[in-house]
C-alpha cells in the first residue's frame, strides 16, 4: 500500500486571549496601530449596533435579528481587507463584513425591520443581499467569480457561512466548482460552534471545518476567529491570491457565539454551563484592547470617547431607520419583473384600492 495523497491543516493565532503575542514572528499588521485602532473601532461599532438591534426587537420596533456577538473579528477582519471593487456575498449573520464593505447600518436595520429597501445598498451596488437559505450564497459567490474570470477582471469575491451551513449540499457544490474552475473566491466559515442548538459533534465527524475543502482540492486554513490580526492577515493573503487568478481559499475562523442564535432563540435551553464565562474571556474585542493597551496605544479616555461616538453614530442610524416610512402597499408588486404582467397589474390596482378604502 502506498500513500497517494497527504494533507494537513494549519492553524494561525498571533495574539492570545490575554492580548499577548504567541510568537515573536508577527505580521506587519501587529505593529500597524492605526489600522488596528480602526479595526477595534469597527468591532465595537458592530457590537453597539447588535446591542441596539436587540433592544429594538425587544421593544417591538424590529423583527427577528441575528447578532454577531463574539464574532466581530471575523466579519470586520475580512470585510476590511476587501477592496471597494471586490464583491461580497454575505450570509444572514454577515452585518460586520457588510458594513465594512459599505452597507450602511440603517440598511441592515431596514432589512431586519422588514423592508426590502434594506437590500438596495447605496454604497455597495454589486454586493449580494443577505442569503437566508443556508449555504445558497456560496454558489452565487462562485458565479460572480466565474463572471469576473470570463471578463478578465482582477477582482475577487468573499462569501461567509456558518459552520452548520457546511453540512449543506450547496457548500460542497460551491467549493467543488470553485476548485475545478480555479475561481477567485474566498470562503469564510464563521465557526461559532453552534447552529442554533446543534453543536459541532452533531454537525460533523471532521476535526476541523477547514478540512472539508481538501475534498474540493482547494487551499484551506484555520485561524483563531477571535484574533483579528490572524483573520485579517489570512484574508489579505487569500484575496491577493484570488485577484491574481490563483484560485480559491477556504478560511475557517474559530470563534464562539456569545449570544442567542437570533432574538427568537434562547440559548439557555442548550448551552452547557460555563461555556459563556470561558467565551467572554476569549472574545475578540477585549483581546485587542488588551493588546493595544499593552502597547500603550489605548487608554480609558480613548475608550470612553470612542464608545460615546459609536453610540451617537448607531443612534443616528436607528433614528433614520425608525423614521423611514413604510413602503406603499404597491411596493410589493414593484420590481417583480421589469414590466409587470397585466394580470398582476390588476392585483396591484386592487391592493392600492384596498389600502385606500381601509385608510378612509
Amino acid at each position: 500500500m502506498t500513500t497517494v495523497a497527504k494533507f494537513d491543516i494549519k492553524y494561525t493565532q498571533y495574539i492570545d486571549k490575554d492580548g499577548k503575542p504567541v510568537s515573536k514572528k508577527l505580521p506587519k499588521l501587529a505593529t500597524d496601530f492605526k489600522t488596528l485602532k480602526t479595526l477595534y473601532r469597527s468591532m465595537n461599532r458592530i457590537r453597539t449596533l447588535d446591542t441596539k438591534a436587540y433592544a429594538l426587537q425587544r421593544t417591538g420596533k424590529m423583527g427577528t435579528y441575528p447578532a454577531a456577538l463574539g464574532q466581530e473579528a471575523i466579519g470586520v477582519g475580512f470585510g476590511s481587507a476587501l477592496n471597494k471593487e471586490d464583491v461580497l456575498v454575505p450570509y444572514y449573520r454577515g452585518q460586520a463584513a457588510m458594513i465594512e464593505h459599505g452597507v450602511t447600518m440603517e440598511e441592515v436595520l431596514l432589512y431586519w425591520g422588514g423592508d426590502e429597501r434594506g437590500s438596495d445598498y447605496q454604497n455597495a451596488r454589486e454586493d449580494f443581499p443577505i442569503a437566508v437559505p443556508i449555504a445558497t450564497q456560496l454558489l452565487h459567490a462562485a458565479g460572480v467569480a466565474k463572471a469576473m474570470q470570463l471578463k478578465g477582471e482582477k477582482r475577487c469575491v468573499a462569501t461567509e457561512i456558518g459552520e452548520g451551513g457546511t453540512s449543506e449540499g450547496d457548500f460542497y457544490e460551491a467549493i467543488n466548482v470553485a476548485g475545478i474552475w480555479n475561481l477567485g473566491v474566498v470562503f469564510f466559515i464563521n465557526n461559532n460552534q453552534w447552529a442554533i442548538s446543534v453543536p459541532s459533534e452533531i454537525q460533523t465527524a471532521c476535526e476541523t471545518y477547514a478540512q472539508k475543502a481538501i475534498a474540493a482540492g482547494i487551499e484551506c486554513v484555520q485561524v483563531d476567529g477571535n484574533d483579528i490580526i490572524a483573520v485579517r492577515e489570512a484574508s489579505e493573503k487569500a484575496f491577493e491570491k484570488a485577484r491574481a487568478g490563483k484560485g480559491p481559499t477556504l478560511i475557517e475562523c474559530v470563534s464562539l457565539r456569545l449570544c442567542d442564535h437570533t432574538t427568537a432563540d434562547d440559548a439557555r435551553r442548550y448551552r452547557p454551563e460555563g461555556e459563556l464565562d470561558k467565551g467572554w474571556e476569549e472574545e475578540p474585542i477585549l483581546r485587542l484592547r488588551k493588546y493595544l493597551e499593552a502597547n500603550k496605544q489605548w487608554s480609558k479616555k480613548d475608550e470612553e470617547k470612542m464608545q460615546a461616538e459609536l453610540a451617537a453614530e448607531v443612534q443616528q442610524a436607528v433614528d433614520n431607520y425608525v423614521n423611514t416610512a413604510p413602503q406603499a402597499p404597491e411596493a410589493m408588486f414593484d420590481y417583480l419583473y421589469e414590466e409587470l404582467p397585466a394580470r398582476t397589474m390588476e392585483q396591484r390596482e386592487y391592493a392600492i384600492n384596498v389600502a385606500k378604502n381601509k385608510g378612509a
Partner: protein, 326 residues
C-alpha cells in the same frame, strides 16, 4: 431554407444570440464536447469556445446558483438542466433566489438568464425522465415559464428568453423534439413572451394547450372539422405570466373551452386557466369547461405511459361531450 426540428431550432437560436451578444454563455452537464444529451448545444463549443460553452460538474443546484452569480455580473447564462426530473436540487436556487433577486434588491440586481430543461413523457425514458411539472414553476412569482410547441416558436421564444431582462424557465417538450420540421429562417427575430398563439381559428369550441400536447390537440381539431365541429386551437406557449385575455376572447366567441395538458390535473395550470375562465367569462359559456389531462398519479414507468398520456381519442371525446352539452 432547410426545414429544422424543434431541438435544432433551440440550437439555432442559442447560436444566433451567442454570435450577436458576447455576454451570452451556455453551461450545464455534457453541454460542451458532447453537445448535450439531446444535442441541443451541438457544435456550440466548437463555434464559441470552452469559455462560453461550459461543461459543469454534476450538480444541479450549482448550475442554477452559479448562473445567478454570473447573471448578477452581466453574463447571460443559458443553463441546461439535463431533464426536468433532475431540476429539484436547483429548485431552492430558482425559487428562493432567481425568482426574487430583482424584487428583494429593489431592482439593484437583476438576473437575465435562462434555465432550459427537456420535459414530458412519451419517449420510453427511465423513471424521473417523463414528468410535466410546469405548474410548480408557473406558481412562483418572478419567474417566466415558456414552453414552445414547434420549431418556429422554439426559435423565436428562445431568442426572446435570452433577451428577456428577467429569468426564464424554458421547458422543451422532448417528445416533439424531432417529430415535426419547420422552415425557420435564422433571422434573429424573436417571438413575444407572455402571449398565446392561435394555431387554428374556429367558432364552436376553444381548445387550449401547450407543449407536446398541441400536436394531439391539432390532430383532434382536424378530425373534428371533418365532423363539422369548428375548433379554435390556442397554444398558451408562455404558461407564466399567463395571457388570459387571448383565451377569454376566444371563449367569448366560441362559448366552449376544453383544456388539454399532459400534467396531472389537480392544482395544475389547467386548473388556473379554468378558474380564470370561470371568474371572468362564465356567462359566455354554453357548456362546462372540459379538461383532458394526465392523471393525478405518479408518472408511470414507460410500459404504462401511453395509458397515462392524453390521446387524440380522449380529446375527441371531451370536445364532442362539450359541444353536445345541452
Amino acid at each position: 431554407m432547410p426545414a429544422i426540428t424543434l431541438i435544432e431550432a433551440v440550437n439555432m437560436a442559442m447560436a444566433y444570440e451567442m454570435g450577436a451578444d458576447e455576454s451570452v454563455v451556455a453551461l450545464g452537464e455534457d453541454v460542451g464536447t458532447n453537445g448535450g444529451v439531446f444535442r441541443a448545444t451541438d457544435g456550440l463549443q466548437a463555434k464559441f469556445g470552452k469559455e462560453r460553452v461550459i461543461d459543469t460538474p454534476l450538480a444541479e443546484s450549482m448550475i442554477a446558483g452559479v448562473s445567478i452569480g454570473m447573471a448578477a455580473q452581466g453574463i447571460k447564462p443559458i443553463s441546461e438542466i439535463q431533464f426536468m426530473g433532475f431540476i429539484f436540487p436547483a429548485f431552492d436556487q430558482i425559487v428562493c433566489h432567481m425568482a426574487r433577486m430583482r424584487h428583494r434588491t429593489r431592482g439593484r440586481i437583476t438576473l437575465p438568464m435562462v434555465i432550459r430543461a427537456p420535459f414530458g413523457g412519451g419517449i420510453h425514458a427511465p423513471e424521473h425522465h417523463s414528468e410535466s411539472t410546469e405548474a410548480l414553476f408557473a406558481h412562483i412569482p418572478g419567474l417566466k415559464v415558456v414552453i414552445p410547441s414547434n420549431p418556429s416558436r422554439a426559435y423565436g421564444l428562445m431568442l426572446a428568453a435570452i433577451r428577456d431582462p428577467d429569468p426564464v424557465i424554458f421547458l422543451e417538450p422532448k417528445r416533439v423534439y424531432r417529430i415535426v420540421k419547420h422552415e425557420v429562417e435564422d433571422t434573429g427575430e424573436d417571438y413575444p413572451i407572455g402571449c398565446c398563439f392561435v394555431d387554428r381559428e374556429g367558432t364552436d369550441v376553444t381548445l387550449i394547450s401547450w407543449g407536446a400536447m398541441l400536436h394531439e390537440t391539432n390532430i383532434a381539431a382536424e378530425k373534428l372539422a371533418a365532423e363539422g365541429i369548428s375548433c379554435e386551437v390556442i397554444d398558451v406557449a408562455t404558461v407564466s405570466p399567463l395571457d388570459i385575455d387571448t383565451i377569454l376572447e376566444s371563449v367569448e366567441k366560441t362559448g366552449r373551452a376544453v383544456i388539454v395538458q399532459e400534467a396531472p390535473k389537480a392544482g395544475s395550470l389547467g386548473s388556473e386557466i379554468a378558474a380564470e375562465i370561470a371568474e371572468k367569462g362564465i356567462f359566455n359559456l354554453l357548456a362546462p369547461i372540459g379538461r383532458v389531462s394526465g392523471y393525478d398519479t405518479v408518472m408511470p414507468y414507460y410500459r404504462l405511459e401511453k395509458q397515462y398520456m392524453p390521446t387524440v381519442d380522449r380529446i375527441l371525446e371531451e370536445v364532442r361531450k362539450t359541444v353536445e352539452y345541452k
